[in-house]
């Protein structure tokens, strides 16, 4: 069989060899605890500081505003729960969007069960937050607005700066889940008026199990993990030194090639979008055509179901993802696809392809050919397609 084609970079990315290389000495040589006094400990401590400096520089933040976490979900949980607790005296109302990652949505549900109120603002048919609805949702007791930077399923990039300005004008904190956007798009926390930002290492060729939360100086936020004085007493636990070194190196690499990689991904993405749109009938591009992550393609194909499509693609060595219920472990298809107004059956037939700069145009052509063939085959098997064709006659 030919080499597999990996088109699921929104799920995770390949750890860059340079990242692995940078991490290894922190398992073997510099294994000391950063809190220790002797030299192998201080070498680890120095590496953690350097990684923190590198990341802070990519966001226009200060070094002491970056807090390492066990990943993006932890950062989201921390930002929401700890802010909710710290600002409860001011109010118990939070605003978010209907298309957030479950790390945010399920944390909101958790807070609702504990006496907080959450408004889930609508998005338009392309997944862009309705700013007028956001403004209308603001109340005197609103303490936090949390809106993702870019959506993990449909790739829509939100008007983050506009949201930041609205939040700042009303004296409300603004958190953004930037797991899909960080190290893919330029982000400036000052310019965009971001108060908190979550990111995850393995979405940009870094290691898994490491992420960070940016917290603007002056924000009251409670400690999430209690124990030692690590992360300025706000996140206890011995630092994941190799992971921190890895995420720092990955950020450095990603930002040194931000434009170059983005341009390459965009070319691959646009080729997929164009060919699928032209060659596969009864399909719909989900997400905004312009305000879109450079690596994201998301199509719905009518009359077919996504899991079947994924298994058949896998048999051809193509790794992709879907918003169908069968891939989510529940009976409901993706909340994101429903929020942008897709009927259930169309949402079940969605396909997400997320490219990386390491992919090639030849691979894109192979993928389109495979998608065309498989969608055709599944439609031949579909009673919905049969009914549709009979109605056409």
């Amino acid at each position: 069989m030919e080499q597999p084609i990996y088109l699921d970079n929104a799920a995770t990315t390949k750890t860059a060899p340079e990242v692995v290389e940078a991490m290894l000495p922190y398992f073997t040589e510099h294994y000391g605890n950063p809190s220790s006094i002797y030299s192998i400990g201080s070498a680890a401590k120095e590496a953690v500081t350097q990684a923190r400096e590198k990341i802070a520089a990519t966001l226009g933040a200060r070094t002491n505003e970056i807090y390492f976490t066990g990943g993006g979900s932890e950062a989201d949980n921390w930002a929401l729960v700890a802010t909710a607790e710290a600002y409860a005296a001011k109010g118990k109302h939070i605003i978010t969007s209907k298309i957030e990652h479950h790390a945010v949505l399920h944390t909101c549900k958790y807070l609702e069960k504990r006496g907080y109120e959450v408004t889930y603002v609508d998005v338009d048919e392309n997944g862009i937050l309705k700013l007028e609805d956001l403004k209308r949702a603001i109340r005197p007791d609103t303490i936090l607005i949390s809106v993702m930077f870019a959506n993990n399923e449909i790739g829509t990039v939100q008007p983050v700066r506009e949201i930041g300005v609205i939040a700042r004008e009303h004296g409300i904190l603004f958190h953004t889940d930037a797991v899909q956007a960080y190290a893919h798009l330029p982000i400036d926390v000052e310019d965009m008026k971001i108060d908190m930002l979550s990111a995850s290492g393995h979405k940009f060729n870094g290691p898994k199990g490491i992420g960070f939360l940016y917290i603007r100086t002056g924000i009251k936020i409670r400690s999430f993990l209690h124990g030692g004085q690590q992360e300025r007493g706000r996140r206890a636990g011995t630092e994941n030194v190799p992971g921190i070194v890895g995420i720092g190196r990955a950020a450095e690499l990603a930002f040194s090639k931000l434009q170059e990689n983005g341009a390459k991904e965009k070319m691959l993405r646009d080729h997929l979008i164009k060919r699928i749109g032209e060659e596969v009938p009864y399909c719909r591009l989900n997400g905004d055509a312009k305000r879109r992550l450079a690596n994201n393609v998301n199509y719905s194909f009518r009359f077919i179901e996504g899991e079947s499509l994924l298994i058949m693609l896998d048999m051809k060595g193509i790794c992709a993802s879907s918003g169908s219920a069968c891939t989510s472990g529940s009976l409901d298809p993706s909340h994101v696809l429903l929020a942008i107004g897709l009927p259930h059956e169309t949402a079940h037939g969605s396909l997400r392809l997320t490219v990386s700069a390491a992919n090639t145009m030849e691979e894109m052509d192979r993928v389109v050919d495979a998608v065309k063939e498989i969608v055709g085959r599944l439609r031949e098997m579909s009673p919905l397609y049969e009914d549709f064709i009979k109605k056409q006659k």
């Binding site: 549900k109 079947s308 219920a325 069968c326 529940s330």
Partner: protein
């Protein structure tokens, strides 16, 4: 996640298609949940299922259970076809993941729906056959914990 047999029936589904002037047609499931099965039966004067075809919109397990169900009823009498339960379909496929058990229920229901259609057209009653539900739902959904 799937057994080899499920993968085989998904990759090479048996009896896909339609039967013109079928003796009975049954469609069950709904698009909202992501599964629809349609079964066509060709039943001769002796009550033997001469041919059986299906069309399915759904996941790998839905396609595989439809395919296996058609195999299990083909050549059988109506009485024997009534004994093809979801368990029989599952066993024949060497099992299904727990979240996919509803697919096998759907397959059983699709056969029953096609038999019901046949019985109605011919003004007969089939022992043990009840009017099919328009919709199949798998038990209670688990309450999510937060």
């Amino acid at each position: 996640m799937y057994s080899e047999k499920v993968m085989d029936h998904f990759q090479n589904p048996r009896n896909v298609g339609e039967i013109e002037n079928a003796s009975g047609i049954g469609t069950v499931g709904n698009a909202k949940c992501g599964d629809i099965m349609r079964i066509y039966l060709d039943i001769d004067d002796d009550g033997i299922i001469r041919d059986c075809k299906f069309k399915t919109f759904g996941c790998g397990a839905a396609v595989a259970t439809s395919s296996m169900a058609t195999e299990l009823v083909k050549g059988k009498s109506i009485e024997e076809a009534m004994k093809v339960t979801n368990k029989a379909v599952m066993e024949a496929l060497d099992g299904l993941p727990p979240v996919k058990v509803h697919c096998s229920l759907l397959a059983e229901e699709a056969i029953h729906a096609a038999l019901w259609d046949y019985a109605k057209k011919h003004g007969i009653e089939i022992e043990g056959l009840e009017e099919p539900k328009a919709d199949i739902h798998e038990g209670e959904e688990d309450e999510e914990e937060y």
